[in-house]
């Protein structure tokens, strides 16, 4: 049977129905199967945590939000600046890009204790970890984006005797924006991961710390609530990026 495209109503309704079916199955099937609540709590139990411990969740959301956001801004800004430097100085790029590449192969989990050793136990190491995790994909994408103008486009600017900075602002940068935004979307999720990983290793505040404490204390409804909140944070960051992208790129 040939499948045609779905109607607009269906393409909105089906994901909602899909999610609802999974939540309902989770709510009613797991207790029936005898899965204990301290392993997998029901959706309503998790929702109840949001009502009961709202202040606690909010208190732990705040540091994670700040760390992820700061890491996101710092990591991506550093990557963009370094990409600009690399595309304008091929000698520097040849000398240092392989080292950056090597650096990226170190798993962030292995790197985190070192970062905490250097920066101590405050918010700084978490911001650094979130920044490091955002940095590399943006650097690679930004270099490719800045180099993505065609030969003809460069010749057009050359015929007009454009300066290097005019070529940068009027050609290279606008050409790079779509690729920059696609890596910012990815970074919006990884920045939150970085902040939470940092909090696992050494912190008593934040969603990461809450996740660790809740799992040690078998407070699995609280654990799940913290996970839902982390994912909500990623989604909010992602939506913010998409919003800015839609306003910036109109073609």
């Amino acid at each position: 049977m040939r499948q045609g495209p779905l109607s607009p109503q269906l393409s909105v309704a089906l994901p909602v129905l899909g999610a609802a079916s999974i939540l309902l199955t989770w709510q009613f099937l797991l207790p029936l199967l005898g899965v204990p609540a301290y392993i997998v709590p029901t959706p309503t139990a998790i929702a109840a945590v949001f009502q009961r411990n709202f202040a606690l969740l909010l208190d732990n959301l705040r540091p994670t939000l700040i760390e992820a956001l700061a890491g996101f801004v710092i990591g991506n800004a550093a990557a963009v600046l370094l990409a600009v430097l690399f595309v304008h100085n091929r000698v520097l790029q040849a000398a240092y890009f392989p080292i950056v590449l090597f650096f990226n192969t170190i798993p962030i989990l292995a790197l985190s204790p070192i970062i905490i050793l250097i920066f101590g136990l405050g918010m700084t190491p978490k911001i650094v970890i979130a920044a490091v995790i955002c940095f590399f994909p943006t650097l690679v994408n930004m270099i490719r984006g800045l180099d993505s103008a065609s030969d003809n486009e460069h010749e057009l600017f050359r015929v007009l005797s454009a300066t290097r900075s005019e070529i940068f602002w009027s050609l290279r940068l606008p050409r790079a924006l779509p690729m920059l935004f696609s890596s910012l979307r990815i970074a919006s999720a990884t920045a939150v991961i970085g902040a939470i990983v940092g909090e696992w290793i050494g912190s008593d505040k934040g969603l990461g710390a809450l996740i660790i404490q809740a799992s040690f204390n078998y407070q699995s409804d609280r654990l799940y609530a913290a996970i839902v909140l982390s994912s909500g944070l990623s989604i909010a960051l992602f939506c913010a990026v998409v919003l800015v992208e839609r306003r910036t790129i109109k073609y």
Binding site: N152, E155, L156, T163, E166, L171, Y251
Partner: protein, 257 residues
């Protein structure tokens, strides 16, 4: 009046003087100011390369070339040369109007004369009045190429270089744009160098048609079309004299390939 282009024993290649792949070899060419020259040739004959040398996008390996009585570099710095590429090379994030205005925004540092914003007038001239606020992707291929021509004309260049500008268009659109280009040329008196793959297009447009051969690129045919046409470079595509000239060009092109 000086010639628009005087090239003598021109060698052009890639890869530096030592390991050069020669694209053009010992080319002698003189183009009169205000004339319309069509350049025909098989792929790899160096017809695009010739335009790039004239536009100062590429340095020759040997020989001499003067453009409008000066060096290509001086002519480019003065913005006396306009270039139209095969793909329109419009910046997709700029509106049609802002694409035409691009020459106002960049490269002003090296300019001594003032370029006026004639974008509206040029868009009208190219039949694109009312399209100024659109984005390039909202236009047809023919319209995009019209915008590219308007952009090239904004600086009122004395020399217009066109590298297969209508090569990607359908035949009806191409014929229409050919007529518009001829009208433009009659009105402005700009010297035009027009590179094309199409024998019919070359013969219809050019006051003179040259054929280049490949490996290495050299001049193999130089045909004056003016005796075959009426005043103002006018002719019909079906004129027996034009058709005969096309056959002659075809023979030269086949030998060159």
């Amino acid at each position: 009046m000086t010639n628009a282009i005087e090239a003598s024993r021109l060698d052009v290649g890639y890869g530096g003087r030592q390991v050069a792949v020669k694209v053009l070899s010992g080319l002698d060419l003189t183009v009169k100011t205000g004339s319309f020259l069509s350049i025909l040739g098989p792929s790899g004959c160096g017809k695009s390369t010739l335009l790039r040398v004239v536009a100062d996008l590429l340095d020759p390996l040997g020989g001499t070339i003067s453009v409008l009585g000066d060096t290509p570099h001086a002519v480019r710095s003065r913005r006396d040369v306009g270039f139209v590429f095969q793909d329109s090379t419009l910046l997709p994030w700029r509106t049609v109007r802002d694409n035409v205005r691009l020459p106002l925004g960049v490269g002003q540092g090296s300019l001594t004369r003032k370029i006026e914003d004639r974008s509206e007038e040029l868009l009208d001239l190219m039949g694109l009045g009312g399209f100024g606020g659109r984005l390039p992707h909202q236009l047809s291929g023919g319209q995009r190429q019209r915008v590219a021509i308007a952009r090239a004309l904004l600086g009122q260049p004395k020399l217009l270089l066109m590298d297969e500008p209508f090569g990607a268009l359908d035949e009806i659109t191409r014929d229409r744009l050919n007529d518009e280009l001829l009208n433009l040329w009659r009105r402005t008196g700009t010297t035009i160098l027009f590179v094309t793959h199409s024998i019919a297009e070359a013969a219809y447009l050019g006051e003179r048609v040259i054929v280049l051969a490949a490996n290495p690129g050299r001049l193999v045919k130089d045909l004056d079309m003016r005796p075959l046409k009426q005043d103002g470079n006018r002719c019909t595509r079906e004129d027996p004299a034009i058709v005969a000239a096309m056959a002659e060009l075809r023979t030269a092109l086949e030998r060159a390939s």
